[in-house]
Amino acid sequence: MLMRSLFYLFAAMTIGSAAIAAFSRNIVHSAFALLGAFAGVAAIYTLLGADFVAMTQVFVYIGGILVLTLFAVMLTQGIADVTVSNRAVGRAPALAVTIAVGTAMAAAIARSPWPAAPAYVPAPTTYGIGNAFLGPYALPFEVASIVLLAALIGAVVIARPASSGEEDTP
Protein backbone atom coordinates (compact mmCIF):
# COMPACT_ATOMS: atom_id res chain seq x y z
CA MET A 1 0.00 0.00 0.00
CA LEU A 2 2.66 2.46 1.10
CA MET A 3 5.02 1.30 -1.61
CA ARG A 4 2.27 1.47 -4.19
CA SER A 5 1.25 5.01 -3.29
CA LEU A 6 4.90 6.06 -3.29
CA PHE A 7 5.32 4.50 -6.69
CA TYR A 8 2.34 6.40 -8.09
CA LEU A 9 3.62 9.61 -6.52
CA PHE A 10 7.04 9.26 -8.14
CA ALA A 11 5.58 8.07 -11.43
CA ALA A 12 3.30 11.11 -11.54
CA MET A 13 6.28 13.35 -10.74
CA THR A 14 8.33 11.78 -13.55
CA ILE A 15 5.58 11.95 -16.15
CA GLY A 16 4.46 15.44 -15.15
CA SER A 17 7.99 16.82 -15.34
CA ALA A 18 8.60 15.05 -18.62
CA ALA A 19 5.41 16.58 -19.98
CA ILE A 20 6.57 20.05 -18.96
CA ALA A 21 9.95 19.36 -20.55
CA ALA A 22 8.25 18.30 -23.78
CA PHE A 23 5.47 20.87 -24.03
CA SER A 24 6.89 23.99 -22.42
CA ARG A 25 7.36 26.86 -24.84
CA ASN A 26 10.26 28.11 -22.77
CA ILE A 27 13.39 26.09 -23.41
CA VAL A 28 14.88 26.97 -20.02
CA HIS A 29 11.74 25.73 -18.28
CA SER A 30 12.04 22.53 -20.32
CA ALA A 31 15.62 22.07 -19.14
CA PHE A 32 14.70 22.67 -15.49
CA ALA A 33 11.73 20.31 -15.74
CA LEU A 34 14.19 17.52 -16.52
CA LEU A 35 15.21 17.75 -12.85
CA GLY A 36 11.84 16.34 -11.77
CA ALA A 37 11.95 13.62 -14.41
CA PHE A 38 15.46 12.48 -13.47
CA ALA A 39 14.74 12.61 -9.73
CA GLY A 40 11.49 10.69 -10.18
CA VAL A 41 13.27 7.95 -12.12
CA ALA A 42 15.92 7.76 -9.39
CA ALA A 43 13.18 7.41 -6.77
CA ILE A 44 11.57 4.57 -8.75
CA TYR A 45 14.95 2.83 -8.95
CA THR A 46 15.17 3.13 -5.17
CA LEU A 47 11.73 1.59 -4.76
CA LEU A 48 12.87 -1.29 -6.94
CA GLY A 49 15.81 -1.91 -4.61
CA ALA A 50 18.44 -0.75 -7.11
CA ASP A 51 20.29 1.51 -4.68
CA PHE A 52 23.50 1.86 -6.67
CA VAL A 53 21.70 2.55 -9.95
CA ALA A 54 19.50 5.14 -8.24
CA MET A 55 22.48 7.03 -6.84
CA THR A 56 24.30 6.81 -10.15
CA GLN A 57 21.19 8.22 -11.82
CA VAL A 58 21.24 11.23 -9.48
CA PHE A 59 25.00 11.62 -9.77
CA VAL A 60 25.26 11.36 -13.55
CA TYR A 61 21.95 12.76 -14.74
CA ILE A 62 21.27 15.55 -12.24
CA GLY A 63 24.86 16.35 -11.27
CA GLY A 64 26.30 16.02 -14.76
CA ILE A 65 23.95 15.93 -17.71
CA LEU A 66 21.28 18.29 -16.38
CA VAL A 67 23.84 20.86 -15.28
CA LEU A 68 25.65 20.69 -18.62
CA THR A 69 22.31 20.99 -20.45
CA LEU A 70 21.41 24.07 -18.42
CA PHE A 71 24.86 25.44 -19.03
CA ALA A 72 24.54 24.95 -22.77
CA VAL A 73 21.05 26.45 -22.84
CA MET A 74 22.15 29.51 -20.89
CA LEU A 75 25.20 30.09 -23.06
CA THR A 76 23.14 29.86 -26.25
CA GLN A 77 22.57 33.01 -28.23
CA GLY A 78 19.17 34.62 -27.94
CA ILE A 79 18.49 33.38 -24.45
CA ALA A 80 16.65 36.62 -23.74
CA ASP A 81 14.09 35.50 -26.31
CA VAL A 82 12.91 32.66 -24.12
CA THR A 83 9.86 31.68 -26.16
CA VAL A 84 11.99 29.68 -28.58
CA SER A 85 10.81 26.12 -28.88
CA ASN A 86 11.25 23.41 -31.43
CA ARG A 87 8.71 23.98 -34.17
CA ALA A 88 10.81 22.85 -37.08
CA VAL A 89 8.37 20.07 -37.92
CA GLY A 90 4.65 20.62 -38.29
CA ARG A 91 1.88 18.99 -36.32
CA ALA A 92 0.79 16.35 -38.84
CA PRO A 93 4.14 14.50 -39.04
CA ALA A 94 4.44 14.74 -35.25
CA LEU A 95 1.01 13.17 -34.88
CA ALA A 96 1.92 10.39 -37.31
CA VAL A 97 5.15 9.61 -35.45
CA THR A 98 3.35 9.70 -32.10
CA ILE A 99 0.66 7.31 -33.27
CA ALA A 100 3.21 4.92 -34.78
CA VAL A 101 5.42 4.85 -31.67
CA GLY A 102 2.41 4.73 -29.35
CA THR A 103 0.89 1.75 -31.17
CA ALA A 104 4.20 -0.10 -31.13
CA MET A 105 4.66 0.53 -27.41
CA ALA A 106 1.07 -0.40 -26.58
CA ALA A 107 1.47 -3.64 -28.51
CA ALA A 108 4.73 -4.41 -26.71
CA ILE A 109 3.14 -3.68 -23.33
CA ALA A 110 0.12 -5.82 -24.08
CA ARG A 111 2.18 -8.76 -25.30
CA SER A 112 4.93 -8.93 -22.70
CA PRO A 113 4.26 -11.46 -19.92
CA TRP A 114 4.96 -9.07 -16.93
CA PRO A 115 6.30 -11.46 -14.28
CA ALA A 116 4.77 -11.12 -10.81
CA ALA A 117 6.65 -9.51 -7.95
CA PRO A 118 9.91 -11.38 -7.31
CA ALA A 119 9.95 -13.72 -4.34
CA TYR A 120 13.50 -12.89 -3.29
CA VAL A 121 14.37 -10.13 -0.83
CA PRO A 122 16.25 -7.35 -2.62
CA ALA A 123 19.68 -6.83 -1.12
CA PRO A 124 22.32 -4.11 -1.56
CA THR A 125 23.55 -4.33 -5.12
CA THR A 126 26.85 -2.44 -5.14
CA TYR A 127 29.01 -5.45 -4.37
CA GLY A 128 27.48 -7.56 -7.13
CA ILE A 129 27.67 -4.75 -9.69
CA GLY A 130 31.33 -4.14 -8.90
CA ASN A 131 32.21 -7.79 -9.18
CA ALA A 132 30.28 -8.14 -12.43
CA PHE A 133 32.05 -5.13 -13.95
CA LEU A 134 35.51 -6.39 -13.06
CA GLY A 135 34.71 -10.07 -13.60
CA PRO A 136 32.55 -11.51 -16.38
CA TYR A 137 31.78 -8.12 -17.95
CA ALA A 138 35.29 -6.65 -17.80
CA LEU A 139 35.67 -6.53 -21.57
CA PRO A 140 32.39 -4.69 -22.38
CA PHE A 141 33.13 -2.33 -19.47
CA GLU A 142 36.57 -1.50 -20.86
CA VAL A 143 35.21 -1.12 -24.40
CA ALA A 144 32.63 1.36 -23.11
CA SER A 145 35.42 3.27 -21.36
CA ILE A 146 37.40 3.42 -24.60
CA VAL A 147 34.34 4.74 -26.47
CA LEU A 148 33.94 7.46 -23.85
CA LEU A 149 37.63 8.31 -24.01
CA ALA A 150 37.45 8.55 -27.79
CA ALA A 151 34.43 10.85 -27.48
CA LEU A 152 36.35 13.04 -25.02
CA ILE A 153 39.36 13.31 -27.31
CA GLY A 154 37.09 13.99 -30.27
CA ALA A 155 35.35 16.78 -28.39
CA VAL A 156 38.68 18.37 -27.53
CA VAL A 157 39.86 18.14 -31.16
CA ILE A 158 36.64 19.71 -32.46
CA ALA A 159 36.42 22.43 -29.82
CA ARG A 160 40.04 23.48 -30.06
CA PRO A 161 40.59 26.63 -32.12
CA ALA A 162 42.60 26.09 -35.29
CA SER A 163 44.61 29.28 -34.89
CA SER A 164 47.87 28.34 -36.58
CA GLY A 165 48.86 25.79 -39.21
CA GLU A 166 50.77 23.41 -37.03
CA GLU A 167 47.98 23.13 -34.50
CA ASP A 168 45.59 21.79 -37.09
CA THR A 169 47.07 18.32 -36.95
CA PRO A 170 45.84 16.71 -33.76
Binding site: M1, L2, M3, V28, H29, F32, L35, T46, L47, G49, D51, F52, M55, T56, V58, F59, I62, G63, G64, L66, V67, L68, L70, F71, M74, L75, A117, V121, P122, A123, P124, T126
Partner: protein
Protein backbone atom coordinates in the same frame (compact mmCIF):
# COMPACT_ATOMS: atom_id res chain seq x y z
CA UNK B 1 18.08 3.57 14.07
CA UNK B 2 17.93 1.60 10.84
CA UNK B 3 17.71 3.35 7.53
CA UNK B 4 14.30 3.87 6.07
CA UNK B 5 15.46 3.30 2.52
CA UNK B 6 17.66 0.39 3.50
CA UNK B 7 14.85 -1.29 5.35
CA UNK B 8 12.58 -0.82 2.36
CA UNK B 9 15.27 -2.36 0.25
CA UNK B 10 16.00 -5.16 2.71
CA UNK B 11 12.39 -6.13 3.35
CA UNK B 12 11.19 -5.47 -0.15
CA UNK B 13 7.70 -4.39 0.83
CA UNK B 14 5.79 -3.29 3.89
CA UNK B 15 2.62 -4.85 2.49
CA UNK B 16 2.34 -7.32 5.36
CA UNK B 17 2.70 -4.72 8.14
CA UNK B 18 1.31 -1.38 6.99
CA UNK B 19 1.02 -0.10 10.59
CA UNK B 20 4.69 -0.86 11.25
CA UNK B 21 5.63 0.94 8.06
CA UNK B 22 3.59 3.98 9.06
CA UNK B 23 5.05 4.06 12.57
CA UNK B 24 8.52 3.68 11.08
CA UNK B 25 7.90 6.50 8.63
CA UNK B 26 6.67 8.83 11.38
CA UNK B 27 9.62 7.96 13.64
CA UNK B 28 12.07 8.64 10.81
CA UNK B 29 10.38 11.94 9.97
CA UNK B 30 10.71 13.04 13.61
CA UNK B 31 14.35 11.92 13.69
CA UNK B 32 15.11 13.85 10.48
CA UNK B 33 13.44 16.94 11.90
CA UNK B 34 15.48 16.59 15.11
CA UNK B 35 18.79 16.31 13.24
CA UNK B 36 17.96 19.36 11.14
CA UNK B 37 16.59 21.42 14.04
CA UNK B 38 19.21 20.50 16.64
CA UNK B 39 22.38 20.24 14.55
CA UNK B 40 22.13 21.45 10.95
CA UNK B 41 20.31 24.76 11.43
CA UNK B 42 22.00 25.86 14.69
CA UNK B 43 25.37 25.12 13.11
CA UNK B 44 24.55 27.05 9.94
CA UNK B 45 23.38 30.03 12.02
CA UNK B 46 25.91 30.18 14.83
CA UNK B 47 28.84 29.57 12.50
CA UNK B 48 28.15 32.96 10.88
CA UNK B 49 28.94 34.68 14.17
CA UNK B 50 31.96 32.43 14.81
CA UNK B 51 33.30 33.08 11.33
CA UNK B 52 32.90 36.86 11.60
CA UNK B 53 34.69 36.85 14.94
CA UNK B 54 37.50 34.68 13.56
CA UNK B 55 37.99 36.93 10.55
CA UNK B 56 37.92 39.98 12.80
CA UNK B 57 40.66 38.44 14.92
CA UNK B 58 42.70 37.62 11.79
CA UNK B 59 42.26 41.18 10.48
CA UNK B 60 42.98 42.84 13.88
CA UNK B 61 39.40 44.00 14.31
CA UNK B 62 36.85 43.29 17.03
CA UNK B 63 33.94 41.94 15.00
CA UNK B 64 30.29 41.75 16.06
CA UNK B 65 30.19 42.03 19.85
CA UNK B 66 27.04 44.00 20.64
CA UNK B 67 24.13 41.53 20.68
CA UNK B 68 24.39 39.30 23.71
CA UNK B 69 27.60 38.23 25.45
CA UNK B 70 30.52 38.76 23.06
CA UNK B 71 27.94 39.29 20.29
CA UNK B 72 26.92 35.65 20.49
CA UNK B 73 23.28 36.40 19.64
CA UNK B 74 24.23 38.22 16.44
CA UNK B 75 23.03 35.28 14.35
CA UNK B 76 19.59 35.53 15.96
CA UNK B 77 19.42 39.24 15.27
CA UNK B 78 20.44 38.70 11.64
CA UNK B 79 17.83 35.99 11.25
CA UNK B 80 15.03 38.15 12.69
CA UNK B 81 16.12 41.03 10.50
CA UNK B 82 15.95 38.92 7.35
CA UNK B 83 12.59 37.39 8.24
CA UNK B 84 11.14 40.87 8.76
CA UNK B 85 12.38 42.16 5.41
CA UNK B 86 10.02 42.63 2.50
CA UNK B 87 9.95 39.68 0.12
CA UNK B 88 10.82 41.31 -3.19
CA UNK B 89 10.89 39.73 -6.61
CA UNK B 90 12.02 41.69 -9.67
CA UNK B 91 9.19 42.52 -12.04
CA UNK B 92 10.97 41.02 -15.04
CA UNK B 93 12.06 37.90 -13.19
CA UNK B 94 10.72 34.45 -13.95
CA UNK B 95 8.56 34.40 -10.82
CA UNK B 96 8.08 30.66 -10.39
CA UNK B 97 11.71 29.67 -10.92
CA UNK B 98 12.84 32.66 -8.88
CA UNK B 99 10.83 31.45 -5.90
CA UNK B 100 11.72 27.78 -6.36
CA UNK B 101 15.51 28.23 -6.58
CA UNK B 102 16.30 28.89 -2.87
CA UNK B 103 14.35 25.78 -1.89
CA UNK B 104 16.40 23.61 -4.23
CA UNK B 105 19.58 25.00 -2.71
CA UNK B 106 18.18 24.35 0.76
CA UNK B 107 17.22 20.82 -0.30
CA UNK B 108 20.79 20.22 -1.46
CA UNK B 109 21.84 21.29 2.04
CA UNK B 110 19.25 19.21 3.93
CA UNK B 111 19.61 15.90 2.09
CA UNK B 112 23.26 15.13 3.06
CA UNK B 113 22.29 15.06 6.77
CA UNK B 114 20.50 11.75 6.20
CA UNK B 115 23.84 9.93 6.05
CA UNK B 116 25.82 12.11 8.47
CA UNK B 117 27.60 9.64 10.80
CA UNK B 118 27.57 11.41 14.17
CA UNK B 119 28.39 8.28 16.15
CA UNK B 120 28.08 4.51 15.89
CA UNK B 121 24.32 4.73 16.61
CA UNK B 122 23.46 8.32 15.70
CA UNK B 123 23.01 8.14 11.97
CA UNK B 124 19.68 8.59 10.27
CA UNK B 125 20.29 6.19 7.41
CA UNK B 126 23.45 4.14 7.08
CA UNK B 127 22.90 3.70 3.36
CA UNK B 128 24.85 1.00 1.62
CA UNK B 129 25.76 3.66 -0.96
CA UNK B 130 26.25 6.45 1.61
CA UNK B 131 29.23 8.32 0.21
CA UNK B 132 27.87 8.09 -3.33
CA UNK B 133 24.56 9.49 -2.07
CA UNK B 134 26.37 12.31 -0.34
CA UNK B 135 28.25 13.39 -3.45
CA UNK B 136 25.14 12.95 -5.63
CA UNK B 137 22.61 14.99 -3.67
CA UNK B 138 24.86 18.02 -3.34
CA UNK B 139 24.34 18.41 -7.09
CA UNK B 140 20.91 19.85 -6.33
CA UNK B 141 22.67 22.94 -5.05
CA UNK B 142 24.15 23.53 -8.51
CA UNK B 143 20.73 23.29 -10.14
CA UNK B 144 19.30 25.72 -7.59
CA UNK B 145 22.13 28.18 -8.11
CA UNK B 146 21.75 28.04 -11.89
CA UNK B 147 18.01 28.50 -11.51
CA UNK B 148 18.49 31.52 -9.25
CA UNK B 149 21.02 33.02 -11.63
CA UNK B 150 18.80 32.63 -14.65
CA UNK B 151 15.43 33.47 -13.09
CA UNK B 152 16.67 36.76 -11.62
CA UNK B 153 16.92 38.16 -15.13
CA UNK B 154 20.05 40.04 -14.22
CA UNK B 155 23.45 39.81 -15.84
CA UNK B 156 25.33 39.65 -12.55
CA UNK B 157 23.10 36.88 -11.33
CA UNK B 158 23.45 34.91 -14.54
CA UNK B 159 27.23 35.29 -14.56
CA UNK B 160 27.38 34.27 -10.91
CA UNK B 161 25.19 31.26 -11.53
CA UNK B 162 27.20 30.10 -14.52
CA UNK B 163 30.50 30.62 -12.71
CA UNK B 164 29.21 28.63 -9.79
CA UNK B 165 28.02 25.79 -12.00
CA UNK B 166 31.30 25.63 -13.89
CA UNK B 167 33.21 25.63 -10.62
CA UNK B 168 31.15 22.99 -8.85
CA UNK B 169 30.99 20.68 -11.88
CA UNK B 170 34.75 20.95 -12.36
CA UNK B 171 35.68 20.38 -8.74
CA UNK B 172 33.31 17.45 -8.40
CA UNK B 173 35.75 15.44 -10.51
CA UNK B 174 38.87 15.69 -8.30
CA UNK B 175 36.63 15.38 -5.22
CA UNK B 176 35.07 12.20 -6.54
CA UNK B 177 38.46 10.83 -7.54
CA UNK B 178 39.91 11.46 -4.09
CA UNK B 179 37.03 9.61 -2.47
CA UNK B 180 37.87 6.49 -4.49
CA UNK B 181 41.18 5.62 -2.69
CA UNK B 182 39.23 5.35 0.56
CA UNK B 183 36.60 3.17 -1.09
CA UNK B 184 39.42 0.98 -2.40
CA UNK B 185 40.92 0.57 1.06
CA UNK B 186 37.69 0.09 3.00
CA UNK B 187 35.83 -1.91 0.35
CA UNK B 188 32.52 -0.21 1.13
CA UNK B 189 30.54 2.91 0.24
CA UNK B 190 28.68 3.08 3.55
CA UNK B 191 29.67 5.95 5.84
CA UNK B 192 29.66 3.77 8.96
CA UNK B 193 31.53 1.03 7.11
CA UNK B 194 34.26 3.45 6.07
CA UNK B 195 34.61 4.71 9.65
CA UNK B 196 34.65 1.18 11.06
CA UNK B 197 37.48 0.30 8.66
CA UNK B 198 39.62 2.86 10.51
CA UNK B 199 40.72 2.99 14.13
CA UNK B 200 40.61 5.69 16.79
CA UNK B 201 44.38 6.20 16.81
CA UNK B 202 45.80 8.54 14.16
CA UNK B 203 48.10 5.93 12.62
CA UNK B 204 45.09 3.81 11.73
CA UNK B 205 43.30 6.66 9.95
CA UNK B 206 43.09 6.46 6.19
CA UNK B 207 44.93 9.78 6.03
CA UNK B 208 48.13 7.96 6.98
CA UNK B 209 47.34 4.61 5.35
CA UNK B 210 49.69 5.29 2.45
CA UNK B 211 51.64 8.23 0.98
CA UNK B 212 48.93 8.89 -1.62
CA UNK B 213 46.22 9.60 0.92
CA UNK B 214 47.60 12.89 2.22
CA UNK B 215 47.35 14.61 -1.20
CA UNK B 216 43.96 12.97 -1.76
CA UNK B 217 42.66 14.39 1.53
CA UNK B 218 44.08 17.81 0.69
CA UNK B 219 42.40 17.78 -2.72
CA UNK B 220 39.13 16.73 -1.13
CA UNK B 221 39.33 19.59 1.39
CA UNK B 222 40.19 22.22 -1.24
CA UNK B 223 37.51 20.92 -3.61
CA UNK B 224 35.07 21.24 -0.71
CA UNK B 225 36.03 24.90 -0.39
CA UNK B 226 35.47 25.36 -4.12
CA UNK B 227 32.15 23.54 -4.17
CA UNK B 228 30.86 25.72 -1.33
CA UNK B 229 31.95 28.90 -3.16
CA UNK B 230 34.24 29.85 -0.30
CA UNK B 231 37.24 32.13 -0.56
CA UNK B 232 39.67 31.72 -2.33
CA UNK B 233 37.07 30.29 -4.74
CA UNK B 234 34.20 32.73 -4.13
CA UNK B 235 34.08 33.90 -7.75
CA UNK B 236 30.34 33.21 -8.11
CA UNK B 237 29.55 35.88 -5.54
CA UNK B 238 32.59 38.11 -5.85
CA UNK B 239 31.30 41.39 -4.40
CA UNK B 240 33.71 43.56 -6.34
CA UNK B 241 32.74 42.03 -9.69
CA UNK B 242 29.22 40.65 -9.46
CA UNK B 243 27.48 42.47 -6.55
CA UNK B 244 26.34 39.24 -4.86
CA UNK B 245 26.37 36.87 -7.84
CA UNK B 246 23.37 34.61 -8.15
CA UNK B 247 21.87 36.02 -4.93
CA UNK B 248 21.89 39.66 -6.08
CA UNK B 249 18.13 39.98 -6.53
CA UNK B 250 17.13 38.04 -3.43
CA UNK B 251 16.04 39.56 -0.15
CA UNK B 252 14.82 38.43 3.21
CA UNK B 253 14.17 34.78 3.86
CA UNK B 254 15.10 33.60 0.37
CA UNK B 255 18.49 35.30 0.60
CA UNK B 256 18.91 33.76 4.02
CA UNK B 257 18.27 30.27 2.62
CA UNK B 258 21.15 30.65 0.17
CA UNK B 259 23.58 31.71 2.85
CA UNK B 260 22.32 29.18 5.36
CA UNK B 261 23.02 26.45 2.79
CA UNK B 262 26.42 27.87 2.00
CA UNK B 263 27.53 28.08 5.61
CA UNK B 264 25.91 24.80 6.55
CA UNK B 265 27.66 23.03 3.69
CA UNK B 266 30.94 23.85 5.43
CA UNK B 267 29.92 21.27 8.01
CA UNK B 268 28.95 18.77 5.32
CA UNK B 269 32.20 18.97 3.37
CA UNK B 270 34.26 18.97 6.58
CA UNK B 271 32.32 15.90 7.71
CA UNK B 272 33.18 14.14 4.45
CA UNK B 273 36.89 14.74 5.03
CA UNK B 274 36.62 13.69 8.69
CA UNK B 275 34.72 10.53 7.81
CA UNK B 276 36.89 9.43 4.93
CA UNK B 277 40.34 10.30 6.19
CA UNK B 278 40.27 11.18 9.89
CA UNK B 279 38.52 8.19 11.37
CA UNK B 280 35.10 9.81 11.81
CA UNK B 281 33.62 9.21 15.26
CA UNK B 282 36.15 6.51 16.21
CA UNK B 283 37.06 6.87 19.89
CA UNK B 284 38.91 4.60 22.34
CA UNK B 285 36.58 2.34 24.33
CA UNK B 286 36.55 4.39 27.53
CA UNK B 287 33.19 3.28 28.81
CA UNK B 288 30.99 0.22 28.70
CA UNK B 289 27.75 2.13 28.57
CA UNK B 290 26.43 2.58 25.04
CA UNK B 291 25.05 6.02 25.84
CA UNK B 292 28.37 7.26 27.20
CA UNK B 293 30.27 5.79 24.26
CA UNK B 294 27.94 7.44 21.78
CA UNK B 295 28.32 10.76 23.56
CA UNK B 296 32.10 10.46 23.37
CA UNK B 297 31.93 9.47 19.70
CA UNK B 298 29.60 12.38 18.94
CA UNK B 299 32.06 14.75 20.63
CA UNK B 300 35.04 13.26 18.78
CA UNK B 301 33.29 13.54 15.40
CA UNK B 302 32.23 17.12 16.01
CA UNK B 303 35.67 18.06 17.27
CA UNK B 304 37.24 16.80 14.04
CA UNK B 305 34.62 18.47 11.86
CA UNK B 306 34.80 21.80 13.68
CA UNK B 307 38.60 21.77 13.46
CA UNK B 308 38.35 21.44 9.68
CA UNK B 309 35.68 24.16 9.60
CA UNK B 310 38.02 26.41 11.56
CA UNK B 311 40.81 25.77 9.06
CA UNK B 312 38.50 26.76 6.22
CA UNK B 313 37.63 30.01 8.05
CA UNK B 314 41.30 30.60 8.51
CA UNK B 315 41.92 30.04 4.79
CA UNK B 316 39.10 32.45 4.00
CA UNK B 317 40.60 35.10 6.22
CA UNK B 318 44.09 34.64 4.80
CA UNK B 319 44.03 34.04 1.06
CA UNK B 320 42.97 36.43 -1.71
CA UNK B 321 40.48 35.39 -4.34
CA UNK B 322 41.91 33.50 -7.32
CA UNK B 323 41.16 34.44 -10.91
CA UNK B 324 38.78 32.27 -12.87
CA UNK B 325 41.50 30.91 -15.16
CA UNK B 326 43.66 30.11 -12.14
CA UNK B 327 40.75 28.31 -10.55
CA UNK B 328 40.15 26.20 -13.66
CA UNK B 329 43.88 25.53 -14.13
CA UNK B 330 44.19 24.41 -10.50
CA UNK B 331 41.36 21.97 -10.98
CA UNK B 332 42.11 20.50 -14.38
CA UNK B 333 45.88 20.78 -14.67
CA UNK B 334 46.86 19.89 -11.11
CA UNK B 335 44.07 18.31 -9.07
CA UNK B 336 42.71 15.89 -11.66
CA UNK B 337 46.11 14.36 -12.59
CA UNK B 338 47.21 14.22 -8.94
CA UNK B 339 43.94 12.56 -7.98
CA UNK B 340 44.44 9.95 -10.71
CA UNK B 341 47.96 9.25 -9.45
CA UNK B 342 46.56 8.92 -5.92
CA UNK B 343 43.96 6.45 -7.12
CA UNK B 344 46.44 4.30 -9.05
CA UNK B 345 49.03 4.50 -6.28
CA UNK B 346 46.52 3.45 -3.66
CA UNK B 347 45.41 0.57 -5.88
CA UNK B 348 49.01 -0.60 -6.13
CA UNK B 349 49.50 -0.15 -2.39
CA UNK B 350 46.39 -2.19 -1.61
CA UNK B 351 47.61 -4.89 -4.00
CA UNK B 352 51.00 -5.00 -2.21
CA UNK B 353 49.73 -4.70 1.37
CA UNK B 354 46.05 -5.63 1.51
CA UNK B 355 45.96 -5.16 5.29
CA UNK B 356 47.89 -1.90 5.32
CA UNK B 357 51.50 -1.22 6.13
CA UNK B 358 51.91 -0.15 9.78
CA UNK B 359 55.51 1.04 9.33
CA UNK B 360 54.52 3.43 6.55
CA UNK B 361 51.55 4.64 8.61
CA UNK B 362 53.77 5.39 11.62
CA UNK B 363 56.32 7.14 9.38
CA UNK B 364 53.64 9.29 7.78
CA UNK B 365 52.16 10.10 11.16
CA UNK B 366 55.61 11.10 12.43
CA UNK B 367 56.12 13.34 9.37
CA UNK B 368 52.72 14.95 9.89
CA UNK B 369 53.39 15.51 13.59
CA UNK B 370 56.78 17.04 12.81
CA UNK B 371 55.18 19.28 10.21
CA UNK B 372 52.52 20.47 12.66
CA UNK B 373 55.12 21.16 15.36
CA UNK B 374 57.28 23.17 12.93
CA UNK B 375 54.22 25.07 11.71
CA UNK B 376 53.08 25.96 15.23
CA UNK B 377 56.60 27.12 16.16
CA UNK B 378 56.76 29.30 13.05
CA UNK B 379 53.33 30.81 13.82
CA UNK B 380 54.40 31.45 17.41
CA UNK B 381 57.58 33.23 16.26
CA UNK B 382 55.64 35.47 13.86
CA UNK B 383 52.98 36.17 16.46
CA UNK B 384 55.59 37.23 19.00
CA UNK B 385 57.40 39.37 16.45
CA UNK B 386 54.25 41.16 15.28
CA UNK B 387 53.17 41.79 18.86
CA UNK B 388 56.60 43.33 19.56
CA UNK B 389 56.38 45.54 16.47
CA UNK B 390 52.88 46.63 17.43
CA UNK B 391 54.20 47.71 20.81
CA UNK B 392 57.22 49.53 19.35
CA UNK B 393 55.35 51.28 16.52
CA UNK B 394 51.64 51.09 17.30
CA UNK B 395 50.57 53.41 14.47
CA UNK B 396 52.52 51.92 11.57
Amino acid sequence: MQAWLDSLIARGDFGARPDAALAYGIAMAIACALVLALIALPFASIVTWVERRVWARIQSRVGPNRVGPQGFLQWLADGVKHVCKEDLAPEEADARLFKLAPWLVALGFFLPWAVMPFSSALILADLNVGILYLTAVTALTVVGVLMAGWASNNKWSLLGGIRSAAQIVSYEIPAGLSILPVVLMSGTLSMEGIIRAQGWAPQSWFLFANPFCVPAATILFISGLAENNRTPFDLPEAESELVAGFATEYTGMRYLLFYMAEWGNMFVSAAIVATLFLGGWRAPALSRSAVAMNTIEFAVFNLKVLTIVFVSMWVRGTLPRVRIDQMMALCWKYFVPIAFVDLLGTAGWVALWPDGNPIASWLLLACAAAGIVLFVRRVAIYARRSRMELRLRPTS
